[in-house]
Structure formats: structure tokens, C-alpha cells
Symmetry: C2
Subunit: 185 residues, 2 copies
């Protein structure tokens, strides 16, 4: 291998490390991030064994990592006819990866808190309205206010998620330097 080619690959490794580390905020480990990074810089679809060799992990770990990456749609399986092994490619659009992951995260947070509200609000309401215990009544009323604040927050969060998902956000924050102006999936 020529020095130049070697140097290109070394620089790619630097980029892969940075990508892998930054992907930890997407809830995947750095080694799973490295799998993504290797696919990102590959111009051909890779098999589990190809990846295994490049990231120096066991095939089982690569298999698990790939599954994680497919769940968040950062990696896709592609078929190559005449080949028995699965092949994988990275979704190279960082923005799309970010939006997919982030919208999912927002919805998860919303559902968690929303569920707790559904579960607790009736209690607070009843005690606020009917309790003979003054302290309990006051506290229940305070908690109903907190819940209403939380509701407003979740509502805003969902409008943010919807705007990100629909692409409406780009009316507020346009993508620049792009050939195509609209974000579609």
C-alpha cells in the first residue's frame, strides 16, 4: 500500500474515532459507534465478517451492534445477489440520523411522564377537591399545578418533535448549501 493511501486511511480512522465518540450521545457505546464509522467510510456494503476484521471485535458483538444501529435506522441491510452473507451500509446523512434518533427520544420521554401523569392526576384531583386534611389538600393542589406545567412542557416537546419529523423546522432553520431544498424520507 502506498504511503498516500496509508495516510488517507489513518485520517479516516481519526474521523471514525470522533464519530464513534460523538455517537455515545445517541445512546450507543463507542465500539458500536466505530462499527458505524467503518461503514460510513466504506464505499461498498460490508458483511459481518468484513466489519469484524476492521474493528477487531467478535462476530457476535458486531452482530449485536449492527442490530442496534438498524433499530435506530443508522444502518441498513442490503442484499447482494449471488451472495449468501448479509451486507450492510451506513445511512450517511448525519442530519437524518440525528432527527430520527432525537424524535424517538423525545417521544419516549413524553410517554414516560405522560403515563405517570395519567396515573397520578386522579388521586391529586380527588384529594384536592374532597379532602378534609388541609395539608393534603394544599399539597395536592400544588402538585396539580406542577402537572399542568409538565403537560405544557410535553406539549411543546411534541410540537418540536413533529416539526423535526415533518421537516417544518427547515422553514425556520433552512438547510444551506444543498442541491435539493426539501427534506423528504
Amino acid at each position: 500500500m502506498s504511503d498516500d493511501l496509508q495516510n488517507v486511511h489513518e485520517s479516516e480512522d481519526v474521523m471514525i474515532s470522533a464519530i464513534a465518540q460523538s455517537m455515545t450521545v445517541y445512546g450507543v457505546s463507542a465500539s458500536v459507534g466505530r462499527i458505524y464509522g467503518v461503514l460510513y467510510f466504506s464505499d461498498v456494503p460490508l458483511t459481518l465478517d468484513d466489519i469484524k476484521d476492521q474493528v477487531a471485535m467478535s462476530k457476535a458483538s458486531v452482530s449485536n451492534g449492527i442490530r442496534e444501529l438498524m433499530e435506530t435506522e443508522m444502518v441498513t441491510k442490503v442484499w447482494k445477489k449471488g451472495e449468501r452473507k448479509d451486507h450492510f451500509i451506513a445511512e450517511k446523512d448525519f442530519l437524518r440520523n440525528f432527527l430520527t434518533f432525537f424524535v424517538k427520544t423525545l417521544r419516549t420521554e413524553r410517554n414516560l411522564i405522560h403515563k405517570a401523569i395519567e396515573q397520578t392526576e386522579p388521586t391529586f384531583t380527588e384529594i384536592a377537591e374532597t379532602s378534609s386534611d388541609d395539608e393534603a389538600e394544599q399539597l395536592a393542589n400544588r402538585d396539580l399545578e406542577l402537572i399542568q406545567d409538565a403537560r405544557n412542557y410535553l406539549d411543546w416537546l411534541m410540537r418540536l418533535a413533529n416539526s423535526l419529523e415533518s421537516g417544518d423546522i427547515f422553514n425556520h432553520l433552512p438547510k444551506q448549501d444543498e442541491k435539493e431544498s426539501s427534506y423528504d424520507e
Copy 2:
């Protein structure tokens, strides 16, 4: 303690659990999230010992957890005159917590990748322009394109961060004080 008061506290605990779990996406452990939850439902500032009793953790753990929460501005230290112990209160504005944390996360991701780009781009450029190795030259050119894509992504991310931080986002997604939220999945 009356039954009603007891029930209010039990419902608060349900809310605290949900909040604690949802805070894991903010990079804090569920137990640190519980510390926040306890402070969230307290109408008076609490000391480390107060919190320790309520969450059943060691004082050292609470101390560490509080520091974490203060770093992301979700908890603030307040002084009570005549008292030697530190007292802490929760920032109750979820939206504010979200924005603070999220903007910081976006900037961290940007800095990580930006740094790697700064470090590697000169190599790619030089090889793309001067290499006698055809394969290396082609690869370097491809990588320069990937880097440009990454740059555009980071640029958009920073505009999003700025919009969230300045509050400009609320021109696009106004906060509203609706009493009923109609988001369903």
C-alpha cells in the same frame, strides 16, 4: 399522617420515578434523577442529609449527584441564613432544563467532529491535489466530500443550538398555555 397525605406522597413518588427514568436521556443515572425528583416536589430547600434520608443513598453519593445536577444547572445551591448546611433547590422549569442540557450536548458533538475535521482535512486536501497514487487521490476526494457534508450538518446543528438558546425557536414553535393537550400516538 392522614391517608390523604400518604396518598399524595405516594403519587408524588410515581411522578418522581418517571422523571428519574426520563432523566437518563440527559446522561444522569436514575438515582441522580431521583435526587432531582425529590427536590422537584419539595417546597423548601433541602440539605444533603434531608435528601440522603429521602432517597436512601449514602451522603457521598448524594453529594456527587448534586454536583452533577448543578453542573447542568438543574439544581442550585441556596443559602439560608443562620444555617450551616448547604441547601438545594430544583430548577422546576423542565423546558429550561431541556434547552440547557441539549444545547450543551449539541455543542459538544460539534466540537468533537469539528476538531477531527480540522485535523484530517489538510491531509485529504494535499493527497487529493498532489498524489501520484490514483486510488489514494480518488479516496481523498471522496472523503473531502464527506467532510463537506459533515460541515453542513454541523452548521445546521449550531443554528439549531443558537435558536434554542436565544429563544428564537419560540417564534417558530410558540409556548402556549393550553389547558388540554391533544397529542396521541
